[in-house]
C-alpha cells in the first residue's frame, strides 16, 4: 500500500502499512482488551469516585474516535471537529432557549445531528480540495468563526454566558455513566467496523498516498466525503449528549479551539488510525487531567503536567503510545499485528 519510492520527508503519523487488527488478536492482546473492558464497565463498583470522570470520558471517546475515522485515517488533520460537535450542542441549546425549553429530546437530538452533518459538509466540500496545512488551517478558522458568531449573536446564544435551559439527563452518577457508556461502545464498535471494512482501507490508503489511490481509479473525493459523514454523525450525537450531560452549553466546554486541539492530541497519543487507540487514550488522559493530576497538583498546575505528558508522548512516540503497546503485545505472542 505504501510506495517507499515516493515516501516524502514527512513521516506519516499513521505510519503503518498493514491494518491494525487481523481477524484474530493474539492471546495477550485479547487478555488486555478483555480486562480493560471489564474494568471499564464495572467502574461504579470498584471505583465509585471515578464514575463522574469516566462518564465524561465516555463522551470524549465518541469525539476522538469520530475524529480518528476521518483525520486519523486520511491524514487530513481537522482542527475543527469541535465545530461539528459544537454546532450540534448549540442546536439543542438554541432550540430550548429560543423556542421551547420543554422541547423533547427525540426532536432536538436528530435535528442537532443533522445540523452537525450539514455543517461538516459545508466545510468539507471546499476544504477537501486543499492539501495538508491549508485544509487544517481552514478547519481551524471554522472554529474561530463559529466562536465569534456565538458572541456576535449573543441575543440568541447568550454569548459567553452559555445557555442553561438544556435538560440534564440524570443527576445520578452511576446512571449517567451507563447512559454515556452505551453510546460510546456503540459508536466505537461501528467505527471500528468501518475502519476494517473496504471503506476504511481506502481511507487509510488515501492517508498513505492519495495520488496512488487516484491512479488506481478510485474517486478519492467521494470517499473523503463519506469519511466526513461517518465522522460527523457520531460527532453531532456526542455534542448533543454532552449538552445533556452538563445541562448547559457555552463556548468554553464545547466550541473553542482548545477542545479541538485536545481531541487531536488524545488521538495522536493513542495512535492515529486505530480507533481503539484514541478511545483508550481518551480514558487515560481524561483520568489524568480531571482526577489524578488534579488531586496531586491542584486544578491549575495539573495543566502543565497534562500538556507536558502529551508533549513527551508526541515527540517520543509519534505513532501513538497505545498502538506501540498493542504492537508490543503482538510481537510477544509471535503474531504480526
Amino acid at each position: 500500500m505504501s510506495n517507499p519510492a515516493t515516501a516524502d520527508a514527512e513521516e506519516s503519523p499513521a505510519g503503518f502499512a498493514v491494518p491494525l487488527f487481523d481477524a484474530t488478536a493474539n492471546r495477550y492482546q485479547l487478555a488486555v482488551l478483555v480486562v480493560a473492558i471489564l474494568g471499564l464497565v464495572t467502574i461504579p463498583v470498584w471505583a465509585p469516585s471515578l464514575t463522574y470522570v469516566f462518564a465524561f470520558a465516555n463522551i470524549w471517546v465518541i469525539f476522538v474516535v469520530s475524529w480518528d475515522i476521518i483525520s486519523g485515517h486520511t491524514n487530513y488533520i481537522s482542527f475543527g471537529h469541535s465545530f461539528i460537535s459544537g454546532i450540534a450542542a448549540y442546536t439543542t441549546a438554541l432550540l430550548t432557549f429560543n423556542i421551547d425549553p420543554e422541547m423533547a429530546m427525540y426532536i432536538t437530538l436528530p435535528l442537532s445531528v443533522i445540523m452537525a452533518v450539514v455543517a461538516a459538509l459545508v466545510f468539507a466540500l471546499p476544504a477537501l480540495r486543499l492539501s495538508g496545512p491549508y485544509f487544517s488551517l481552514l478547519t481551524f478558522v471554522s472554529v474561530l468563526v463559529a466562536t465569534k458568531a456565538v458572541y456576535i449573536f449573543s441575543q440568541y446564544t447568550n454569548g459567553e454566558m452559555g445557555i442553561s435551559t438544556v435538560s440534564v439527563l440524570t443527576f445520578d452518577n452511576t446512571t449517567m455513566f451507563y447512559y454515556t457508556l452505551i453510546p460510546a461502545a456503540v459508536v466505537t464498535g461501528l467505527l471500528l467496523y468501518i475502519s476494517r471494512s473496504d471503506v476504511g482501507m481506502v481511507l487509510k490508503a488515501i492517508g498513505q498516498n492519495e495520488v496512488a489511490v487516484e491512479a488506481a481509479g478510485l474517486d478519492t473525493t467521494r470517499f473523503k466525503i463519506w469519511g466526513f459523514v461517518y465522522s460527523a454523525i457520531p460527532m453531532g450525537f456526542g455534542g448533543a449528549l454532552l449538552a445533556h450531560f452538563f445541562g448547559n452549553v457555552e463556548p468554553i466546554a464545547f466550541l473553542i479551539v482548545d477542545r479541538s486541539i485536545e481531541m487531536i492530541a488524545i488521538a495522536a497519543v493513542g495512535g492515529m488510525g486505530t480507533i481503539l487507540g484514541p478511545a483508550g487514550a481518551a480514558y487515560i488522559l481524561i483520568y489524568l487531567r480531571d482526577d489524578l493530576f488534579r488531586t496531586f497538583l491542584g486544578p491549575n498546575a495539573r495543566w502543565v503536567a497534562v500538556w507536558s505528558v502529551i508533549l513527551i508522548l508526541l515527540v517520543y512516540s509519534p505513532q501513538g503510545i497505545l498502538k506501540r503497546f498493542w504492537t508490543f503485545l503482538g510481537d510477544l505472542g509471535g503474531d504480526s499485528a
Binding site: P48, Y52, G159, S164, F171, F246, G247
Partner: protein
C-alpha cells in the same frame, strides 16, 4: 502562602491540623482517590458527630476567586475557634470553577455525592451560577450565592419554582437590578458634588449589565440629569479609543461603566494618558483588586468602582474593617484584600451557622424546610452589611435586601494617598459613597478643571 494543596495548620495551640484542604477531586487523601475508597472519608449521614463540611466554588486563578477562597479559609478558621457549627469541626472543600459552568457542575456533583457537604457557597460569574442552579436545586443542598449578581438567579428559579429551588439564597452582592438603580443614585451624588449633569452609560455587553442599560439610563433621566450616551461594548474589545472618542464627543462629564470581563487596563491607560475630559465611574470588577494600582501602573487613579464591603476601607458595619485587617494579616500573596465576593463568602458561613444551630441539625435531606425557614428569618450583622432576605412571595425571593441600613452598595475611589491606606505599595483606596460611612471626598481628575 495562598498556594493550594498543602494541609494548612490551624492557629490553635494544640498543633493538630484542624482543617484539611481537599482539592475538589473528591477525596482528602490521594491514595484513596486512586483506589476509589472514598466512602470511608465521607463522614456519616449528617446526624452524628463527624466534621461538618462546607463547599466553596470560585475561580481561583482570578483575583476575585482567590480572594473569596481565602476568605472561606479564614471563615473556617474563625468558625472553629468559636466552637465550630453544632459543636462539630468545620472543614472546607474547595472547588476551582475555572470560569467553566461545566467544571462547576462536576464540582457540585463531587461535593454533594462524595464529600457530603452540608452547604455550598460561591460563585463569581453569573453564568457559572446559572449553569449549576438546576443541579443545585435538584440536589437540595443549601446554597448561598456570594458573588453572582444576575437577578435571574432568584427571580427565574426561586421565584418560578419555589419548591425545587428553596435551598438557594443570595447574600451578596445586591442584585444587578438594584445595582443599576443605585448607580443612578450615585450619579445624583456626583451631580451634587461636582455639578456634573451629563452621563454616558457605557457597559460591556454581557448578561449582568442588561439592567444597567435599562434601569440606570432611566434612573439618570428621572433625576433630571442628561443621558449623553448609551452604549454596550463588546467584551473582547482591545482598542478603546473609538468609544472614548465617542464619549468625549457626547459631552458627558462622566462615564458610568460596568465591566467585568473587560479588564480595563487598556481602557484606563488610553483614558489617562490622553487625558480624556470626563471621569471614570461605575463598576469595574478588576479594579476591586488591591493589586490593580500595580497592574495598571497607576492608570486607575481617580477611577471609582462600586464594591460590597468598600474594599475593607470603610466601616460599613463594625465587622467590615476588622475582617479586612484579619485577612490582610493572614494572606500575603495577591489579592491582599478580600474584594467584594470575599465579604459575602465570610458572611455566608455565619448565616448558615445561625440557621442550622437554630434548627439543631444540618441534615438537609430530612430537615430542609426547617433550615430554609431559619435562613429566611436571617437578620445578621455581616461584614458587607445587615443581612436580611426577601421572602418567598417577593419579586426576588431569597435575595439580599438592600437599603441604607441593610446591604448597601458602596463606591470606592483610587487616590494617591489616604489616611488608613490598606493598599500595599503605591496608591490608596478610599470610600466616597454613601456618605454615611465614607472615608474621603470624591476627587475630580485635575485635567477636567
Amino acid at each position: 502562602m495562598s498556594s493550594d494543596n498543602n494541609t494548612r495548620t490551624s492557629r490553635d495551640d494544640s498543633g493538630s491540623n484542624r482543617r484539611s484542604f481537599l482539592k475538589a477531586a473528591g477525596v482528602g487523601v490521594a491514595s484513596t482517590a486512586a483506589f476509589g475508597l472514598s466512602g470511608c472519608l465521607g463522614g456519616d449521614g449528617g446526624g452524628g458527630g463527624g466534621p461538618i463540611k462546607i463547599g466553596h466554588l470560585a475561580p481561583v486563578q482570578h483575583d476575585m476567586g482567590a480572594g473569596s477562597m481565602n476568605s472561606a479559609r479564614l471563615l473556617v478558621d474563625h468558625l472553629n475557634e468559636d466552637g465550630g457549627i453544632l459543636d462539630r469541626e468545620v472543614q472546607l472543600v474547595e472547588g476551582d470553577t475555572q470560569f467553566s459552568p461545566s467544571q462547576a457542575n462536576q464540582l457540585v456533583q463531587e461535593m454533594v455525592n462524595e464529600e457530603d457537604v452540608k452547604m455550598i457557597s460561591g460563585t463569581f460569574a453569573s453564568e457559572t451560577m446559572l449553569g449549576i442552579e438546576e443541579r443545585v436545586g435538584n440536589l437540595n443542598v443549601p446554597f448561598i450565592d456570594t458573588g453572582s449578581a444576575s437577578p435571574q438567579i432568584t427571580q427565574n428559579f426561586v421565584g418560578e419554582d419555589y419548591e425545587t429551588y428553596k435551598n438557594v439564597f443570595r447574600c451578596n452582592p445586591v442584585n444587578a437590578d438594584f445595582q443599576a438603580d443605585l448607580l443612578a443614585d450615585y450619579a445624583e451624588y456626583l451631580s451634587d458634588t461636582h455639578g456634573w449633569n451629563s452621563f454616558a452609560v457605557v457597559v460591556e455587553d454581557a448578561e449582568w449589565t442588561k439592567p444597567m442599560s435599562e434601569r440606570t439610563t432611566a434612573g439618570v433621566q428621572d433625576k433630571g440629569l442628561e443621558l449623553a450616551l448609551d452604549r454596550r461594548i463588546s467584551p473582547d474589545t482591545t482598542d478603546f479609543t473609538p468609544i472614548l472618542d465617542e464619549i468625549e464627543e457626547s459631552g458627558a462629564d462622566a462615564q458610568l461603566k460596568a465591566i467585568s470581563h473587560i479588564p480595563g487596563t487598556s481602557m484606563l491607560a488610553t483614558w489617562g494618558e490622553n487625558e480624556y475630559p470626563f471621569a471614570q465611574e461605575g463598576i469595574n470588577v478588576a479594579s476591586m483588586s488591591p493589586q490593580y494600582w500595580a497592574d495598571t501602573n497607576g492608570g486607575c487613579l481617580y477611577e471609582t468602582t462600586a464594591e460590597s464591603g468598600a474594599g475593607g476601607t470603610a466601616p460599613v458595619t463594625d465587622k467590615t474593617v476588622p475582617f479586612a485587617e484579619d485577612y490582610q494579616a493572614e494572606f500575603s500573596e495577591r489579592p491582599t484584600l478580600p474584594m467584594y465576593m470575599g465579604f459575602g463568602t465570610y458572611d455566608a458561613g455565619y448565616i448558615f451557622k445561625e440557621a442550622v444551630e437554630a434548627v439543631g441539625s444540618a441534615d438537609y435531606e430530612n430537615d430542609l424546610d426547617d433550615i430554609v425557614a431559619e435562613l429566611e428569618a436571617t437578620d445578621y450583622t455581616g461584614t458587607a452589611g445587615q443581612i436580611q432576605f426577601y421572602g418567598p412571595d417577593h419579586d426576588y425571593p431569597h435575595d439580599v435586601k438592600h437599603g441604607d441600613d441593610l446591604a448597601p452598595f458602596p463606591v470606592t475611589q483610587w487616590q494617591e494617598e489616604a489616611e488608613n491606606d490598606m493598599i500595599e505599595g503605591d496608591g490608596a483606596k478610599v470610600c466616597v459613597w454613601p456618605e454615611a460611612f465614607s472615608t474621603a471626598d470624591h476627587q475630580m481628575p485635575p485635567w477636567m478643571a
